[in-house]
């Protein structure tokens, strides 16, 4: 395709999109209708996104019936606004409370929460807002200029390719938490197992459900993330915490602002996160959760000081957050230009369009330019609104930490319970939180980190399903994974990764003073310099 006309049409379309967004009809004679709904969407999304478990999926399902009475353009603008607005809210509790509000932000806990413990939670959030904007902007740019190209690339990914890519993600992700790589692998395997609970996609038989119908659809991801991170964290912090609230009781907005050095540190992680996020959004069935985990793992690999990840590295917050936002916006590309949703939220948006009588697909841009370009324009406007909205709010969120922990954690427990309940209106899944929370705490005490569990859980079913699909297509010939060029490339990378791990361990073992030093440094869950001081217990009356 010739470069010039593509760019010209795209810019023309974008211009038209802004017309749609700002144009008539006007509510109350002044507020442009489409823009107003976009604003409502990002506002609601952002606010609800802060609540643990109440992700965009729950919010959109709740507000979906409301859009039936609306026109198509404002309806989709609002629902899309909830989706990306929710992501801006999602990082807040991850960073401040170690509560991953929705799964893509679980990995943000790894370095975000240690930063909070060091009194730098505000900085983390500030840079996050900026990084989110950068990630989202790239995602939108991609959608404007590269959609057709990217769709063609995405179609190259068949089961074999997706399978080997997932394998690469699993291998890379095993080492993403602090501590021994062996323990990371063990946690990945545990996550893979938890992911295999439920109805087997190919044969329809039930696995590890022990006769419980509620487990037929597997373990709920939100319950897993909130249990392993949130509950386990409450259990290890209860009656132990003093320093966090102290650091935030008299904090000013100025202290929250990232310094120039912070921003400089964030530039390259932002770029890497953007690229990883946009790549992940293209591959079928690869949503923002995978993007953020892969981004963290890649950032750790790229870093000169990988051993400091998990102790409050700014890079470890910026890269996955950028990837999440870039992936969220990129996810709209296959949804809008093929009519094929990347994940459940996108399926919901697609349904919202269908009920308006609009079927997204290759003809969407020509048949409904107002929807496509209006959406694109609203993304940009929405993201600007979100930045303006969130920067002043950071101070407010940080003030939340000044609330004594004895009030904070019981309230958070409620939000966890209701958030998990609202995901499927199912009490059983609240019970899952109890089981997974206690498991998470035991694992934490044994020196395991929960992050690879979540990764294994998310990637596992996709890995297994696509592995089995590839084997079906090839009729049992394992050669399929190396015969196809893209797949072979990923297999090569996997081999390289394992090879280098073994090489470094062997070399490290030779020079090590003590046997088993490779993982002897399995760090305690809370590193010594920020171990909370124990408060002298005051007896309850």
């Amino acid at each position: 395709m010739g470069g010039r006309p593509v760019i010209e049409t795209a810019l023309h379309g974008l211009w038209y999109g802004f017309h749609v967004a700002f144009g008539p009809p006007y509510l109350l004679g002044f507020f442009p209708e489409n823009l107003t709904w976009c604003f409502v969407g990002v506002l609601v999304g952002n606010m609800v996104g802060v609540l643990p478990g109440m992700g965009p999926l729950a919010t959109i399902s709740i507000l979906l019936p409301l859009t039936f009475g609306m026109k198509a353009v404002p309806a989709i603008l609002m629902l899309a606004g909830i989706l990306y607005g929710g992501q801006y809210g999602g990082a807040i509790c991850s960073v401040l409370l170690n509560l991953p509000c929705h799964p893509p932000h679980a990995v943000t806990c790894l370095d975000g929460y240690p930063m909070t413990k060091q009194g730098r939670g505000g900085v983390a959030l500030g840079v996050t807002v900026f990084a989110s904007f950068v990630g989202a902007s790239w995602g939108i740019t991609e959608m404007i200029f590269l959609s057709p190209l990217l769709v063609r690339a995405a179609l190259q990914f068949g089961p074999a390719e997706v399978c080997t890519l997932m394998l690469l993600g699993l291998l890379a992700g095993s080492t993403l938490a602090r501590g021994s790589p062996l323990k990371g692998v063990a946690m990945t395997l545990l996550g893979l197992f938890l992911g295999s609970v439920g109805t087997d996609l190919e044969t329809g038989s039930e696995r590890f459900t022990f006769g419980m119908t509620e487990l037929d659809d597997g373990v709920e991801l939100i319950a897993l993330a909130l249990g392993l991170f949130g509950i386990a964290e409450f259990m290890s912090s209860v009656n132990q915490l003093a320093p966090i609230n102290m650091a935030y009781t008299n904090v000013r907005l100025r202290d929250m602002r990232p310094t120039r050095a912070d921003m400089k540190r964030a530039v390259f992680p932002m770029c890497r996160g953007t690229i990883i996020g946009s790549l992940c959004s293209l591959i079928p069935g690869t949503g923002p959760t995978i993007a953020s985990f892969v981004a963290y793992a890649a950032e750790k690999k790229a870093s000169k000081t990988p051993e400091r990840f998990g102790t409050g590295m700014l890079e470890g917050v910026v890269c996955p957050e950028t990837a999440t936002h870039s992936s969220i916006q990129g996810d709209f590309i296959p949804t809008m230009s093929l009519g094929i949703p990347g994940d459940a939220v996108m399926a919901l948006l697609l349904g919202a369009l269908m009920i308006q009588g609009i079927v997204p697909g290759p003809q969407l841009i020509s048949q409904h330019p107002d929807i496509f370009w209006g959406l694109v324009a609203s993304f940009w406007i929405g993201n600007v609104i979100l930045v303006v909205l969130n920067v002043p709010l950071i101070g407010l969120w940080c003030k939340m930490l000044a609330i004594p922990y004895r009030f904070l954690y019981p309230s958070a427990m409620f939000f966890v319970c209701i958030g998990v309940y609202a995901a499927n209106n199912d009490f059983f899944q609240v019970g899952e939180v109890v089981v997974l929370g206690s498991l998470g705490y035991i694992l934490l005490r044994l020196g395991f980190h929960p992050a690879p569990v979540v990764l294994g859980f998310v990637l596992g079913p996709r890995f297994e399903e696509n592995f089995r699909r590839a084997m079906l297509i090839s009729r049992g010939d394992f050669g399929v994974f190396v015969e196809r060029p893209i797949s072979a490339f990923f297999v090569g990378l996997c081999a390289l990764l394992i090879g280098s791990q073994i090489y470094f361990r062997l070399r490290g073992a030779k020079g090590a003073p003590m046997p088993g030093a490779g993982h002897g440094e399995a760090s305690p869950p809370i590193s010594p310099q920020m171990a909370p001081q124990r408060i002298p217990a005051t007896p309850a009356e």
Partner: protein, 328 residues
């Protein structure tokens, strides 16, 4: 007109209803509905069954002035919602909007937890959409006959994608494969979209899939539709022949959406709801939106709907067994 007809039906049905053991009384139908009516959907929001349910709910609310709302009780291939509906009070304020899962799951699950004929009273078969047999444009077959010849010419190679194990498109695919004794492998995906994408990408050259995600790609030339598997051609793709027209009348089956009531719901209320749904399906707005999802409105009578369930049970039980989809 609307009220007069339902009153007449109510009168006729009242005598029948008094014979049923669990009915709430015959005078209910005239006033019904006096409070919000719940439509249970056994799937997550925005799936095909949910979308049809929501379209109906919207129109029913407008017609009656009372709130008809959808409650999604997703899980276990629709079984959790179906069981929930089966156990609901049959007072005319809870109904189930369901797809083929209500009958097919009898064979696909070891213990589905309900009996589609005994636990439910059929209200109406609301709408249906055919399955579309499509191929990647690189496949050198322009008709189903050529496709069959092509599969025979390439033994041990070809596979077809479906939206998932036990879904109506897969069952039609299984029927196709077994009736014609084709050397095909079924590759299940996790939804209509991803299945179609695999065929557009050429990974699985043949696809038995839902209409909605395939139609835009067929119109864009990225997929080649060979046949639809309904009884008649689809108005969405009028130029595509049915399987019968293509020479394979035995390969017939479609995705449908029906409304059922928990067994023992007063017959007059069932009749009134049936009339309301028929009214909804006749509305141009509902028609247009169903058409956008490639659905054809039906609105059969309760008796026809019950008979249809029986024929579906008889038909697919055999296919499911042949395809080896029986629960282990």
């Amino acid at each position: 007109m609307q009220t007069r007809r339902s009153v007449a039906f109510g009168f006729a049905a009242a005598t029948l209803a008094s014979a049923a053991p669990r009915t709430a009384g015959a005078q209910t139908a005239q006033a019904w509905p006096v409070r919000p009516v719940k439509l249970i959907v056994g799937f997550a929001p925005a799936g095909p069954t949910d979308l049809v349910a929501r379209l109906l709910a919207q129109s029913l609310s407008q017609q009656t002035g009372k709130n008809f709302f959808v409650e999604n009780v997703a899980g276990a291939g629709g079984n959790i919602g179906t069981v929930r509906a089966a156990h609901s009070t049959p007072d005319g304020y809870t109904f189930l909007v369901t797809g083929g899962n209500i009958t097919n799951n009898q064979y696909l699950f070891a213990k589905p937890g309900y009996d589609p004929l005994k636990d439910f009273d059929a209200v109406t078969l609301a709408a249906a959409t055919p399955v579309v047999l499509a191929v990647n444009p690189s496949v050198p077959a322009k008709t189903v006959k050529e496709l069959v010849a092509w599969i025979h010419a390439n033994p041990g190679k070809e596979s077809y994608a479906s939206p998932g194990t036990g879904t109506p498109p897969q069952l039609v695919g299984a029927l196709f494969q077994h009736e014609l004794k084709l050397d095909l492998v079924h590759v299940p995906f996790d939804g209509g979209g991803t299945a179609v994408q695999a065929t557009v990408g050429g990974h699985t050259p043949i696809s038995f899939g839902a209409m909605a995600p395939a139609v835009p790609l067929i119109k864009a030339g990225q997929l080649r539709a060979l046949a639809v598997t309904g009884k008649a051609r689809s108005p969405t793709l009028p130029e595509i022949p049915t399987m019968a027209e293509a020479g394979f009348p035995e390969v017939e089956g479609f995705t449908w959406t029906a409304v059922v009531a928990p067994a023992g719901t007063p017959k007059d209320i069932v009749m009134k709801l049936h009339d309301l749904i028929v009214g909804a399906l006749a509305q141009p707005d509902v028609k247009a939106k169903l058409a956008a999802m490639a659905y054809v409105p039906i609105g059969s009578s309760p008796q026809d709907c019950a008979a249809f369930f029986k024929s579906e049970l008889a038909k697919w039980g055999k296919v499911i067994e042949q395809a080896g989809l029986k629960p282990e």
